[in-house]
Symmetry: C2
DNA sequence: TATTGTTATACTCTATAACTATA
DNA sequence: TATAGTTATAGAGTATAACAATA
């Protein structure tokens, strides 16, 4: 989180700067820092934000599926839900159809917090992207999605 | 490292996929996985690879400066150099001009390993980028650099 | 048998702060 | 007094494996 992105003066980076992976990493760090500023106060990380949005759009989802979306082991998803539940943002409800799984839901407070965060994150994303033109942003998104497939 | 990138079927991602930060993260994870495959065998991580390249291009650099380049605290740079030194890839030499600082250098083995890794990473980067056209890659690099500033 | 959630454990990365030796 | 390196410590994040309950 304290990670800087700026090039260090007088240092030869060789062909490092020609690597897509390196450029991606640096842009991602810059984006993360902007995200962190945007969500200052709330102790929200990108995975937590993602979980909130996914719960909002997919009420009743299971922890396993959430873990799949986040790309983490189920145990990690569980700890994340513990965290959200301890803050009254999410809740586990028994599922009548499957006694093993929980259905995950946002609480009313969780809804409010998520809506607020979504606004803030959307604003930060716009500000972050303001370094490039609107059609460049669209093109960038398209290329990034292609690489992420 | 086990993190998946694929979209999960049947899940509503809401406006998450419109966020640059989210797209950057996913692309970066995909890139990291490709990097990991490319460097399989060598227990090399992106920061370690960066350190090797920086040492190769900037012999005699200090740990503090290396930490600055990597965006980590000096203690982290130190542990990284410990790791490289233990494997005979880098060495610390006393600096005549400053008794506090070390000068960092690649060993002969470090040179060989770094050259090999650079070849492999360059190849992986090309393969990774093959999902997009050459001029698209150039444009992508340009936009990413702009965002990372 | 397979899957969900849970628990315990461990590992990696990294930050912080205090310390020393030099400058 | 400021800086480079070191050391110790702690925290976050996440993986793995074993287990109970349920399918």
């Amino acid at each position: 989180m304290n990670r800087r992105v700026a090039r260090v003066a007088g240092i030869d980076y060789l062909d490092l700067e020609e690597h897509l992976g390196y450029a991606l990493r640096r842009a991602q760090v810059a984006s993360f820092q902007a995200f962190h500023r945007a969500t200052a106060g709330a102790r929200i990380t990108p995975p937590r934000f993602t979980a909130l949005v996914i719960l909002q759009a997919n009420p009743g989802i299971s922890q396993s599926t959430l873990g799949e979306v986040l790309g983490t082991a189920r145990s990690g998803a569980m700890l994340l839900i513990d965290w959200l539940e301890a803050r009254g943002l999410a809740e586990r409800r028994h599922r009548p159809d499957d006694g093993r799984a929980w259905g995950l839901y946002l609480t009313l407070k969780g809804q409010r917090v998520t809506n607020d965060l979504r606004r803030r994150v959307r604003a930060y994303d716009r500000r972050f992207a303001s370094r490039i033109a609107v059609d460049e942003r669209r093109e960038l998104l398209r290329l990034l999605r292609r690489l992420a497939t």
